[in-house]
Amino acid sequence: MDPVFRWIESTSLSVWTRESTSLLAYPAILSAHAIGMALAAGVNAAMALHLLGAAPGIPTREMRRFVGVGWFGFWLNAASGMMLLIAYPTKALTNPVFYLKLSLIVAGMGIFVAINRRLSTAPTALEGWTSVQQKCFAVASLVSWGGAITAGRLLAYTYRRLMVGF
């Protein structure tokens, strides 16, 4: 894969993201990635905590109004994450932890979609799900997002190669 990594790293977009001293380059992208994380993981955490019994007065079905916030966070991070990947493709793609992080995000988003489908189609909230099922989904969601965040943080410590030739 090295020729591909080398090509990506030589593109002007990659060089700019990596080397520009502008606050709009790497610093802004990292900040966006943290804000997106807070929104995506935050909305999911709030939903999971509610499904586990927190704030029982919330009409569960109405939580679907916050689904857009979760998606906004997700797409902000898909975009900013892509920029980070373009800046350092070798660093991410040669690190197994990166694939673990992506898998945990796929799991977290899968649970998010499954819960939302229930919230928007069932006439009453989560009809057809037993409370045990609800709680299993909620715990799986918390584990996935907590794991994704941790794996993401570990990327800074676990990479073997920063760039091709380094």
Partner: protein
């Protein structure tokens, strides 16, 4: 303020066990992961509450959503502890970092803003039978809260780009943004 900053650093440096723990292979990454999980918890509860005051998800009674706030406070507590661990382990990297100065300022402002909310709009918006639409004052406080927490995240993320470097004597100013000299405690 420079002498206050130097005093602060010397006090933080003297707390050795935390620094030792943080400088193990797992200390720093673990504290960082907790810091990010805590901030997600905070935004996921306090941030959603702010959005609710601003008019999102009107079908949820404000008082009911407010029951999630303790989880946001838990997130804040996680971040206060993990944040203190960073500070005690590498005090000069924060005490002289301009991004950290702004971060502390934004956190303090968010605290006062929350206090203002509880002293003014809170009772009205959470009273039984309260209107689904929050009054203008509550909306302003919510918008300020959301902006401040986002500013806290940005200032936190920018810390690494404003790492202070050692200098002989700092430029005169309100706060030193370089590490003045090396006091004896530094390398111990």
């Amino acid at each position: 303020m420079t002498s206050f900053q130097m005093w602060l650093v010397s006090v933080f440096v003297s707390v050795k066990p935390v620094a030792r723990m943080m400088h193990t292979a797992w200390g720093w990454p673990l504290a960082e992961s907790l810091h990010f999980i805590g901030l997600s918890l905070l935004i996921g509860t306090i941030g959603l509450f702010d959005l609710r005051l601003l008019g999102v998800a009107r079908g949820i009674p404000i008082a009911a959503l407010h029951r999630l706030i303790p989880w946001g406070l838990l997130g804040f507590a996680i971040n206060a502890v993990s944040g203190a661990a960073f500070l005690l382990a590498e005090p000069d990297q924060y005490v002289y970092n301009p991004s950290f100065h702004f971060k502390v300022l934004f956190i303090a402002a968010a605290g006062f803003n929350a206090l203002a909310f509880y002293m003014t709009a809170y009772r009205g918006v959470t009273a039984p039978g309260a209107a689904p639409d929050a009054p203008r004052l509550a909306k302003i406080i919510a918008a300020v809260s959301l902006s401040l927490w986002i500013a806290v995240i940005v200032a936190g993320r920018l810390l690494t780009f404003y790492r202070p470097v050692p200098c002989q004597a700092p430029e005169p100013g309100f706060l030193a943004t370089c590490i003045p000299g090396f006091h004896d405690t530094y390398w111990k």
